[in-house]
Symmetry: C2
Subunit: 339 residues, 2 copies
DNA sequence: AGTTTCTACGAAAACGTTTTCGGCAAATTG
DNA sequence: CAATTTGCCGAAAACGTTTTCGTAGAAACT
């Protein structure tokens, strides 16, 4: 009811000019102590706070960061957001989140909406459909307007911006190597279709690790899942076909389904089969048996992305046009699913 | 580099006035077809999009919804956000998210920041600390300024606003009743400290169900957990003290820890002990055994909250001052942890 | 010819700030 | 006493829109 109070109202009530009020509240020496105090106490009494929109318009910056990700109900993305929010908030920024739902069209319209003044810069991870279409005109448009982007996880070459990724090849390599050191010889990998970068790269790391040890790599030991929602029977068929003693899964969902399947097939974990998964989330920690995982450090990635973006926003305007790709180290967390 | 294009630039380039450009782009009949086409094609060529901030300032509405929640790395909250985002986006709104991290202070400053023009209304779930302190001045301030709030899940009486909750008492009641119908007689509940509403209410539902069947309720069968991070030993001690044949847990984390503990104690699930949990998340679906749960319909709650808020925002200003509390029905999803 | 009605456009206000500049009076200086 | 500085404040522009109002010229009427 008391409506939001503005500089103008204070000025009217106190019979001074708007500029005087503004200066008084910002402790300008131009204003006499007497008027200053009068104005400040009046403002305090009515709980005056400057209007953010007006400030944004004036300053041509919003102090807001736009985040565009495929889904939020994924532990990894949730941790990334958490990391972004934490450092953004520390530096006086707020985050505004849009979900693409893995759809190219939604990604584009969301970006368009945000790009028109709502935010100062983007942090994003591309949708599956975007990766598949290889259409990045929306990214280029935004960059052309001088708005910085930081990409993470699902990134793409050929776009000039900062990127935060994990070394998927190396991580998969070390996971595979880990299994081999434990004496496992019949290894499989449950991955995603190739146009999802992380799936392709992790498969490659798996392959390289095998070949480095002089073991043969066979495409039939790779399961490429397209639809994560309905992957159970696919995984069941895959694991029933051959007796593996080690499985790498590119996310914890695939891993826990594999684990259940293997138990159903009468095979013990980690006795008969060892499992190692990417994404150190809730499932890995509380499944039975608990899963050995490659931690993706989502919170770190988010924090780094936010730091990079804000740095670029606050540096005196593109003084340096060199973009950086940060590779975040993964960690191998040993649990019960490996011996 | 080409900098964002504005009405003013178009006007200068085309030697017409700003108003002409604005009208032409909005298809005003006041402008001749010729000029209209010229302006529109020029605008299209340079990809003109009106500046959101300027529009917000002019229209005194931002088309943005502020969300304040304790944490985002909780499946329940993630689903709620997803639900909010979906309907908000459909209606042309965007969501801006702030995390309180269960801290009262952060909740207050975040609310303050958002309330100063950045958003049109709030959707929020209170932090634990706020519930404990019972200090709601920040909510009242915002409401006093005429900005609507919709609260969900962790709500509080005495604040006049719309609320979306589940009927915790009834849900706990039916969960408990479900166990008793399966013949279980020694029941325990793993809950939270009382100032967290959901913990208190669910415990009450548990108690009522017992008493309704003429069974005795003993405080010693209630475990109240304060710190969810380090609850394992607490739960272990609690379950070792007495041989229960049925356990209700107020969230899936407690349930899965209980499940592991019981297995360690040599008791079979659901043979010796049946478990039922609140929150139908990833853990419940993929734990071993999978957990019977009370689904909280986070996405529905979020969708409802957004619908209510937007309704109120777009109704011609507080015509009706009657607030509503919507109770979302829970669902009981049977899985392996109950017979 | 004089009056009215269109047509097509521009000027200006408004949203809420911050900041630059200018000005008036009093106080200080030469 | 005249000249300059100082203290204190207000006017106005700017950010990018939309919208109301005004108006010049042309066309249409009496």
């Amino acid at each position: 009811m008391p409506q939001k109070i503005t500089l103008k109202k204070i000025a009217q009530d106190l019979k001074v000019s708007i500029s005087t009020v503004s200066k008084a509240l910002r402790d300008s020496h131009e204003i006499s102590e007497e008027t200053r105090e009068k104005i400040k106490s009046y403002a305090k009494k009515y709980n005056y706070k400057p209007n953010n929109i007006a400030l944004s318009l004036k300053n041509q910056k919003t102090k807001k960061i736009g985040i565009i990700i495929p889904e939020i109900v994924h532990h990894f993305f949730a941790t990334v957001i958490s990391g972004i929010e934490k450092v953004a908030n520390e530096k006086g920024y707020q985050v505004i989140i849009c979900l693409s739902g893995e759809s190219f069209a939604k990604e584009v319209v969301n970006m368009d909406m945000l790009a028109n003044g709502s935010i100062d810069g983007f942090i994003m991870s591309l949708s599956k459909e975007t990766m598949e279409k290889q259409d990045f005109h929306h990214l280029r448009e935004v960059l052309n307007q001088g708005m910085p982007i930081v990409m993470f996880d699902r990134v793409v070459d050929g776009i000039e911006c900062d990127k935060i990724i994990i070394d998927d090849i190396a991580a998969a390599h070390s996971a595979t190597e880990f299994l081999m050191r434990k004496g496992r010889k019949q290894l499989a990998i449950i991955s995603t279709v190739d146009y999802v970068n992380v799936g392709r790269l992790r498969t490659q790391g798996f392959k390289e690790a095998l070949e480095q040890r002089g073991m043969s790599f066979d495409e039939s030991d790779v399961l490429k899942i397209e639809d994560a929602e309905n992957c159970t029977t696919e995984i069941e068929n895959f694991l029933a076909r051959k007796e593996y003693d080690g499985v790498v899964a590119v996310n914890e969902l695939f891993a826990v389904i594999a684990s259940k399947t293997l138990k159903k097939l009468g095979r013990s974990i980690p006795g008969d089969v060892a499992i190692i998964a990417f994404t150190d989330g809730m499932l890995s920690r509380y499944a039975s048996p608990t899963l050995t995982t490659i931690g993706q450090k989502g919170e770190d990635m988010g924090g780094l992305a936010a730091t990079k973006l804000i740095e670029r926003l606050e540096s005196k305007q593109e003084e340096e046009e060199s973009y950086e790709t940060v590779i975040v180290k993964t960690s191998l967390i040993e649990r019960e699913s490996t011996p």
